[in-house]
Amino acid sequence: MVEQVAAQTNQTKTSTVFKIEDCDIYYGSYKAVRDVSMEIPPNQITSFIGPSGCGKSTILRCLNRLNDLIEIFHLTGKILYHGQNLYDSDIDPVEVRRRIGMVFQRPNPFPKTIYDNIAYGPRINGFKGDTDEMDALVERSLKRAVLWDEVKDKLQESGFSLSGGQQQRLCIARAVAVDPEVVLMDEPCSALDPISTLKIEELMMELREKYTIVIVTHNMQQATRVADKTAFFNAVPTESGGKVGYLAEFNDTQEIFGNPKETATRDYVTGRFG
């Protein structure tokens, strides 16, 4: 079933994976993000940077409809995935999340064995193969996350027995095990030490070959190291005393950091605020 879905995705593949059109995002009546329009290209790493509260994580979570879990969340505008609006009423959010995977800020392995952490996703998505095929899938996923050599002898141990960096790679392996097209990463290294961070970054560069990656990061050096394109989100005060986020500038990473068009971008990337 997984292969079949992947084949369908390939047929409709376009030069843009996501096209966000005029998105406003509300929590209740509070407008959190206003008027975002951007296009995210395939097989590249796109990073979202910006000060706290600018809505970059919020936008990221719209891309796989994870915000549906928040009761008061509401979105206007369109988020097109290969031309299909993800927020159309006949779209199944569960299937959206299968194709658009997510890695979270803090490593969050399931309280299960390393093996079952990987096997869970395929199983609930109707994996039909026998034990050998599942073994192969688990091995392939762990290798893709460059974790296989470290855990191959202890697949039946708990996911919690791993170090923080290994747990995060386990979470990446878990995300790629269901064969998504896109992997969203919400500050995946913010809870990790520098060496683990470097490993995750190398991993992202490799995963770029096969997946489209969107990453939210607070670390501007990280954005310059890994990202092909960078979106700078900013927040401005509103009349009612709150803050609203907006997309200030979106361009190739070199341009954002080397030759920003907006004053706010320049101030942020040179460390004057945020």
Binding site: L69, V94, R97, M102, P109, F110, G121
Partner: protein
């Protein structure tokens, strides 16, 4: 500071580091510690006395016959309380079979699906009210519901239902809390790989919460096993072997209640023995609850 110089062998500024138990705050410290220890001892006295008394009085009557024979007719010697031991196990098993599925499912609704709306708030409120209801009320309720109406009459089932009513609030509350402790990120992770809500609950959230849920269930069982009031007019009592779950049945707590107040020596001894076994049963379940809790993930 300089005035210390010469009187102390070490550097004068270090003199204050020495212990000095005559300062007011050190005296206060010692008194308060003593008071706490005293309170702990006073609290433990009734517990130790009850356990010791029951053990001394009951231990003498612990014989193999106790676990294999029926109680003797009034005036005769010997016999055992085997029927009551089995009866307690049966009634508590019925209560557990009823209360665990309902309680856990209700808690799953509260924690995972209610979105903290009005319904959940009222259900939580009434669960708390229910846990404060005197146990005899639960007995009266089931008496009116099942016994008076003739649906089951005096029976093990009626007793089980009465105990289930008492167990429900504990199970709902502990399961609800156990589910709330599970980090939100685990649910997101599961939903992020394409799981539906119920797959997430059944395969990720509930398994992670099982040790805490089991603790709640064992505590509820321990409480229910010792209840007398709800059983007196639901399970009633029987001097014979259990004869199906739709017949009156003997239980340890009712046996103690019945036998402790009769004027016959052998019955009174059996009541002591029954008390001891009941205490041991409750102790055992509590220990099991402790052991199970150690395997908690979160």
């Amino acid at each position: 500071m300089t005035s210390f110089r010469g009187t102390s062998p070490e550097s004068p500024s270090l003199a204050g580091l020495r212990k000095n138990s005559s300062r007011p705050r050190d005296v206060f410290n010692i008194i308060m510690t003593g008071l706490s220890v005293l309170c702990v001892v006073i609290t433990l006295i009734p517990l130790v006395l009850v356990l010791a008394f029951v053990t001394i009085q009951g231990a003498g009557s612990i014989t193999p016959a106790l676990f294999t024979e029926l109680p003797p007719p009034p005036g005769l010697e010997g016999g055992g309380i085997a029927n009551a031991i089995i009866g307690t196990l049966i009634v508590v098993a019925i209560a557990t079979l009823i209360s665990v599925p309902f309680g856990v499912m209700a808690a799953v609704y509260l924690s995972e699906f209610s979105k903290d709306g009005q319904v959940a708030r009222w259900v939580r409120f009434f669960t708390n009210v229910l846990s404060g209801v005197p146990s005899i009320i639960s007995g009266v309720f089931v008496y009116a519901l099942l016994v008076r109406t003739g649906l089951t009459g005096y029976s093990a089932v009626a007793g089980g239902v009465a105990l289930a009513v008492l167990m429900l609030p504990t199970i709902i509350r502990t399961t609800d809390e156990a589910l709330n402790i599970i980090p939100q990120e685990i649910r997101w992770a599961s939903i992020g790989v394409g799981a539906s809500r119920y797959q997430t609950v059944l395969q990720i959230v509930l398994p992670a919460a099982i040790p805490s849920i089991l603790t709640g269930v064992t505590l509820a069982i321990a409480r229910a096993a010792g209840e007398t009031a709800p059983l007196i007019f639901t399970a009633l009592f029987s001097s014979f072997w259990p004869n199906g779950i739709l017949q009156p049945i003997a239980t340890l707590s009712v046996l103690v209640y019945n036998f402790a107040i009769v004027p016959f020596e052998p019955q009174q001894e059996l009541a002591w023995a029954g008390s001891l076994i009941l205490v041991l049963l409750v102790l055992l379940t509590s220990i099991i609850a402790r052991v199970v809790t150690r395997q908690k993930t979160y």
